[in-house]
């Protein structure tokens, strides 16, 4: 049986903690590094937000390759942020023009 791991905020960055344990098993500077490491160690990973809010993975894994899915989410997110920055620059420019 795989052990549930929690990725959660820590005073020194982000920690991986085994469920049932109070102490962090390891600490990382970035949340992403902690997530990547936890995913290597266990399928059952509970990831907490900056405020400690956890997100829970379904017990049935998706048919989509998790790496491809994560990559696609990052790319779409980056593209949508770029569009938003462009739109806001355009709005500022048109406001200045008025």
């Amino acid at each position: 049986m795989t052990k549930t791991l929690h990725v959660e905020p820590h005073a020194d960055g982000w920690a991986i903690r085994r469920e049932g344990s109070k102490r962090a098993a390891s600490i990382y500077k970035s949340k992403q590094d902690a997530i990547d490491e936890a995913n290597k160690l266990s399928f059952d990973v509970v990831i907490h937000g900056k405020t400690g809010q956890p997100f829970r993975r379904s017990p049935v894994p998706p048919s989509i390759d998790p790496k491809k899915l994560r990559q696609a989410v990052r790319e779409v997110r980056a593209a949508s942020l770029k569009l938003r920055v462009r739109a806001s620059t355009r709005n500022q420019a048109s406001a200045r023009g008025k």
């Binding site: 405020t51 997100f55 993975r57 379904s58 017990p59 894994p61 998706p62 899915l69 994560r70 997110r77």
Partner: protein
């Protein structure tokens, strides 16, 4: 052996799975996920060798929370209503009543499209937690969120309006995401939708 920690965070979603209802189903899965719970439903196990009822009973026994949407209890294509949703609600109520231990902690939310409509076809459920969503995604998210907060006592669950804004952002990005994965948004299976929401939330928290 059942994991009690998992039981307390699993939410069974019993609702129609047709294309008309899909936006409300997606909104429910998103609300459950962003609140920090695990969405579960009969669609998650594609094992043809398992009897559907057996599958539903197993999932029901693993979930402390149950969301039962009765809005499709109306005459359908063959002049008959879909009875699956009221039937599964009955199973969940019986599970709570006649089981022992943690099953007695079960919490159920009954949703319908309008207030008091259930009295015309299922008046026996009067006295349960019944809320109406008016077929609105925003209302579904707010209903699910408010109910989870009151039943779980978890104060850190974000507000309904915040959840709805996050849901709209996810919906905006979903078509592009599906294009990249060579999938059609309309054909996303429950486990793929759930996995996509999980990864999206995770990435957008970083």
């Amino acid at each position: 052996m059942r994991n009690t920690a998992e039981f307390r965070l699993n939410v069974f979603i019993n609702c129609p799975f047709d294309s008309d209802y899909k936006p409300l189903f997606e909104a429910t899965v998103f609300a459950v996920s962003i609140a920090g719970f695990t969405p579960r439903c009969a669609l998650e196990a594609g094992d043809a060798g398992t009897f559907r009822l057996e599958k539903i009973l197993t999932i029901l026994s693993e979930c402390r929370y149950g969301i039962h949407d009765l809005s499709r209890t109306e005459p359908g294509a063959f002049g008959l209503p879909r009875f699956n949703m009221p039937f599964e609600l009955g199973l969940d109520l019986a599970c709570k009543k006649f089981s022992s231990g943690e099953q007695r902690e079960k919490r159920l939310l009954i949703l319908d499209r309008s207030r008091f409509r259930y009295q015309k076809f299922l008046s026996d459920v009067a006295g349960q937690d019944i809320r109406d969503h008016g077929k609105s995604r925003r209302r579904v998210i707010v209903c699910v969120r408010d109910w989870l907060v009151s039943e779980s006592g978890r104060a850190e669950i974000p507000g309904g309006d915040y959840m709805y804004r996050r849901y709209l952002s996810f919906q905006r990005e979903l078509p592009a995401l599906c294009r990249k994965l060579r999938l059609h948004p309309e054909q996303l299976t429950f486990v793929d939708l759930s996995g996509t929401i999980f990864t999206w939330l995770e990435e957008n928290e970083v």
